[in-house]
């Protein structure tokens, strides 16, 4: 059962410049593992060296943060959309001082 995962702009360069990918997965953890297996550069951006999801990268199933669901064990169904939402700081953007 393929589930769609949306890749945010800052991370697309590590995911073959794709904005969305689909993987067979039953849980969020499985889906992310498939994702970083296929796009190895993405692993250090999503996981710490101890294999924990980084705290400035939030993962949502539809509109709900997985921290308030069953975290990486959150089950997925085909109609779900998983989003990765990292923190971005830009505002004055591009100021090269």
């Amino acid at each position: 059962m393929p589930v769609r995962v949306l890749i945010p702009t800052p991370l697309r360069q590590y995911a073959g410049k794709q904005e969305a990918l689909e993987f067979e997965a039953g849980t969020v953890g499985e889906l992310l593992e498939r994702l970083v297996t296929e796009h190895a550069d993405l692993r250090r951006h999503l996981y710490t060296e101890e294999g924990k999801l980084r705290s400035f990268v939030n993962v949502y199933v539809n509109d709900e943060d997985i921290r308030y669901l069953e975290k990486e064990q959150t089950p997925l169904k085909a109609s779900d959309v998983v989003s990765i939402v990292p923190s971005i700081a830009g505002g004055k953007a591009g100021n090269r001082k």
């Binding site: 923190s87 700081a89 004055k92």
Partner: protein, 396 residues
């Protein structure tokens, strides 16, 4: 009607809200004829004190719309000067402002737009030492900064002072907006407990930004600020708005108050402002992650070339940057270097360059580890070359 509204408003405001002059009534007539704003809302706007942190991309529409809307006291915090590269999106400034203090240029522009409001300028970098004293004098804080340390500083100060933090952030063609630190609402640390380590997330200076994007996100922040002031509608509380300009799609994600949040949770550990540069792992804004490699000054490279030495120039920027300007280098983008390394001759002297020298430092490090011995990094990149050797090479 106006008197009644003013009297009613006195119950919620400490100071009696001033009445509107005939000229102000004319100026704000499109607000006054809307029942959602009306005289009551306009007087609230006039009595409101809003602080804008940053007068750049987000600050431009924020300043213009909040001044135009008649926010009575508008505070501005910035310490930069207007730069040519700002003009693509920071629409408060005109070409003649380049080189001027941003805060002075913004004050002049906003005061010209609306002479009836008070503009207070704070020409300083917001720090842990001055943040509480500055923020304390305002009702609503609007975060239009461009770096993680200031964002965490603004958040913590807002939580400590119990003031709403109207948040907006952008990257390339994506933006986020929400309102943090409302009563019983989440704060920035509920969303992101920790900042990314420096270097892991590309900055906007590296990534670029579509000029209209801060206009859109800053306008959303201005709208939320006005709704907070007039007390109408539903503000972005507990909802994170995520905008993709290329797809022209808004998504809304649930944002929950984290009971374990160190800033606003039940067992708070953030009870005063801390060193946010240390917290974010940087000393100074977006400190580059530099790899120590052999460097060559632009003038020295020029001397080598003038002497007729055999030097191979390797340009590790992206093709779209090569189109802007180049100095005769062989283009292999940094990301393609590992699989295209066979295009290089390790017997020749190689000087690698990029825009500023950081990516090429990584390239030199990679090549040295791959066995290349005569490889140098052009210090300061093509920008330094333009400054020191050939000013006809355009800077970007």
């Amino acid at each position: 009607m106006s008197k009644q509204a003013a009297v009613k408003n006195q119950e919620t405001q400490v100071a009696a809200p001033p009445a509107l002059s005939p000229q102000e009534i004319l100026r704000y007539s499109r607000h006054l004829i809307m029942p959602e704003v009306a005289m009551e809302g306009q007087l609230k706007l006039k009595a409101a004190k809003v602080l804008l942190i940053g007068t750049g991309g987000l600050g431009a529409p924020l300043g213009l719309y909040l001044a135009a809307a008649g926010v009575g006291r508008l505070g501005l915090v910035d310490f930069d000067a207007v730069d040519f590269t700002n003009l693509q999106r920071q629409v408060t400034f005109s070409t003649a402002d380049v080189g001027r203090s941003k805060i002075e240029a913004a004050r002049e522009r906003l005061q010209a737009l609306n002479p009836d409001i008070e503009i207070v300028t704070h020409e300083t970098k917001l720090t842990s030492d001055n943040a509480l004293a500055i923020l304390r004098n305002y009702d609503i804080i609007v975060d239009g900064t461009d770096n993680f340390p200031t964002r965490y500083l603004v958040n913590d100060a807002c939580v400590l002072l119990g003031k709403p933090n109207v948040y907006g952030s952008i990257f390339r063609f994506e933006g986020q907006a929400t309102v943090f630190a409302l009563k019983d609402g989440p704060c920035y640390r509920c969303l992101y407990p920790e900042p990314p380590p420096p270097g892991l997330v590309p900055s906007c200076a590296e990534g670029g930004v579509l000029g209209v994007l801060p206009g859109i996100i800053g306008s959303l922040q201005a709208m939320e600020t006005i709704k907070l002031i007039i007390g109408k509608g539903e503000v972005l509380k507990g909802r994170l708005l995520v905008f993709d300009a290329l797809k022209m799609r808004f998504r809304e994600l649930k944002l929950r108050k984290n009971p374990d949040c160190p800033a606003c949770g039940t067992h708070r550990t953030v009870t005063k402002l801390i060193d946010y540069y240390e917290f974010c792992g940087v000393r100074g804004e977006e400190a580059p992650v530099t790899v120590p490699v052999p460097e060559i000054e632009p003038r020295e490279l020029k001397a080598w070339l003038d002497r007729g030495d055999d030097v191979f120039i390797l340009d590790v920027r992206e093709p779209h940057e090569y189109q802007i300007c180049q100095i005769g280098g062989h283009l292999i983008p940094l990301g393609e270097l590992p699989r295209r390394v066979h295009e290089l001759d390790s017997a020749r002297t190689i000087v690698a360059h990029c825009r500023l020298g950081q990516r090429s430092a990584q390239a030199v490090d990679f090549l040295r580890k791959a066995g290349f011995r005569k490889v140098w990094n052009l210090k300061g990149g093509i920008l330094a070359w333009s400054d020191q050797v050939d000013p006809t090479v355009p800077k970007y």
